[in-house]
């Protein structure tokens, strides 16, 4: 049986450097399919979909709200051609009712141990409209190595430099952060993978640079310490979300190859300043993630925050405006107050204001968001700052003998397209 797996494209935010990373969800899902299923994968962010490709059954994997409308259009086209289409993934779960209107079937929840039944149902012509496993998480030990063999590697390469591979070591989250739906999607319990399973998968990844995409590694100190300890011999270099602010954790993380972390910067306190410094003390870079438009922020607060960022030696910064995704407290609060005015999911890209902020107009928040990006990268562009981080990681790789020179055959290619040498910035799609 030929299964066509598709990851829909989405419109990238204007003015920002685009790096297309190999998507994680589809290949984690593909690892759950029975061996008899022949899978072909297309990431529409880096290549066009061939609607004529020979296939029996189509799966559409969606992570972002900004993918859903495109995903529905793709499904409509395949269904018009007589193919059956199933949806899965995070944003399928967040937008399930609407997605159902464009699907022969939707899969809600985690796929491990469940796809044999789904495929058998399809083979018998008895595909169910909904496979609902919400709140019924499978044993985390069932999570096996992702099907990274499905990637067309040359498409995730920028001027000869291979993009990082994505990897996850846990699921679920014990925190209920205001703008986040992870606890709804993956459960409110932190579910770490057995260390040996995580390490086994890491060993299979033919890439020394990784992005550990777990929502937060800072949920169990002992597990974090055990994981980092076992990662040291692998000599990988990696990006992750927050790491616990404890000397023994930071020390082991650095030894295990922590390259840089995403750290939320939500105020101008000494705590944040020192937190960033402590990462740097251990040789770990910091990309600040700054959420704008919360109810406790005035225009002055945002302007002060931007000045503060320039003073704390962040390696990179990523600004977003609050997007009230379904199943978050932000959504509940704004919905109760009737403040959400835009329900077009294409606009839920965290760069466009879709609600009435408390202390300013939507237009003013939009201006401040754009001002934040321009101010932070005024003296040094995003690419220049990124290059500095790359230099640091290359030096560390040279020290431990894991450095791989860029692939010269792909030096004139960026994500599968010819590089326009006349352009000063990468500008794709």
């Amino acid at each position: 049986m030929k299964f066509k797996l598709i990851y829909p494209k989405w419109k990238k935010l204007p003015g920002q450097t685009t790096f297309n990373l190999p998507p994680h969800g589809p290949v984690v899902f593909a690892a759950c399919l029975p061996e008899r299923v022949d899978v072909s994968f297309t990431d529409e962010n880096v290549e066009d979909i061939d609607f004529e490709e020979d296939c029996d059954f189509v799966g559409i994997s969606m992570m972002l709200s900004t993918q859903v409308k495109r995903g529905w259009a793709i499904a409509d086209e395949f269904r018009r051609r007589g193919k059956q289409v199933m949806f899965g993934g995070i944003s399928t779960m967040l937008h399930a009712e609407e997605t159902l209107q464009h699907a022969d079937s939707i899969f809600l929840g985690e796929a491990e141990g469940r796809m044999e039944q789904v495929i058998a149902d399809w083979e018998k012509g008895q595909l169910k409209k909904v496979y609902n496993y919400m709140g019924k998480q499978p044993d985390i030990a069932l999570v096996g190595p992702a099907r990274r063999d499905l990637y067309k590697r040359e498409l995730y390469n920028h001027k000869g430099v291979q993009m990082v591979d994505l990897f996850h070591a846990s699921r679920g989250c014990k925190f209920s952060c205001y703008p986040c739906a992870v606890s709804y999607l993956g459960g409110r319990c932190f579910r770490p993978r057995p260390i040996e399973k995580a390490i086994e998968e890491l060993e299979t990844i033919d890439n020394n640079r990784l992005f550990i995409v777990d929502n937060s590694l800072a949920q169990s100190t002992q597990w974090e310490l055990d994981l980092f300890k076992e990662m040291i011999p692998l000599k990988k270099k990696w990006i992750s979300h927050t790491i616990e602010d404890k000397p023994e954790v930071l020390d082991l993380a650095a030894q295990a190859g922590a390259w840089y972390v995403y750290q939320a910067v939500y105020d101008t306190s000494d705590y944040i300043r020192e937190r960033v410094k402590r990462y740097h003390d251990y040789g770990i870079g910091v990309e600040g993630t700054i959420l704008l438009g919360l109810d406790n922020q005035t225009e002055d607060d945002i302007l002060r925050l931007i000045d503060f960022l320039l003073s704390i030696d962040l390696d990179l910064a990523e600004f977003t405006v609050l997007a009230p995704f379904p199943h978050t407290k932000a959504y509940d609060d704004l919905m109760r107050q009737g403040r959400i005015f835009d329900h077009d999911w294409d606009h839920y890209n965290a760069g466009q204001v879709v609600y009435q902020p408390k202390n300013m107009s939507p237009e003013r928040l939009q201006e401040l968001y754009e001002y934040a990006w321009k101010s932070f990268y005024h003296d040094e562009t995003q690419e220049e700052k990124m290059f500095k981080l790359f230099t640091k990681v290359m030096l560390r790789e040279m020290e431990d003998g894991t450095y791989r020179p860029r692939d010269r055959k792909l030096a004139n290619k960026s994500f599968g397209k010819d590089v326009d040498r006349s352009a000063s910035k990468v500008n794709l799609r």
């Binding site: 609902n132 919400m134 209920s176 606890s183 800072a218 407290k329 932000a330 509940d332």
Partner: protein, 125 residues
């Protein structure tokens, strides 16, 4: 990071309900008789609620409570409580909303939220 344990001052029992897509969900519940009306107070439990929030569950939760407790949908005052969680973040301060609704085919619809002051909460409870 913070522990979002909810104080039980606004509920007498934990009520199990079916959330979105039948997800097993929980909320705090207090039912108080006030004259000829019944006040139903549902409290969000955050980390102790494994499924849908009480706000997202909305009318479905109201219907489930009324069915389980044999209350007349048309004769209740329904209040949603988003309790204080001892967070430094103001988004998790206590907020209460009176939820008014219409009833169509025995299902609450067209929910309207009105935030209550401390005095209003005291007078209702």
């Amino acid at each position: 990071m913070f522990d979002m344990k909810v104080n039980d001052k606004y509920f007498d029992e934990i009520f199990d309900f079916a959330g979105q897509w039948e997800m097993p969900s929980k909320c705090g519940l207090k039912i108080v008789k006030r004259g000829d009306k019944t006040v139903v107070l549902a409290t969000e439990l955050y980390q102790d609620n494994p499924g849908s929030s009480i706000t997202y569950a909305g009318g479905s939760l109201i219907k489930q409570i009324c069915e389980a407790k044999k209350l007349d949908l048309r004769n209740i005052i329904y209040v949603e409580c988003n309790p204080d969680t001892n967070s430094k973040l103001s988004f998790y301060d206590e907020e209460m909303f009176r939820v008014d609704f219409e009833v169509e085919n025995e299902m609450p619809t067209n929910l309207k939220y009105t935030q209550l002051t401390k005095e209003e909460i005291e007078s209702i409870l």
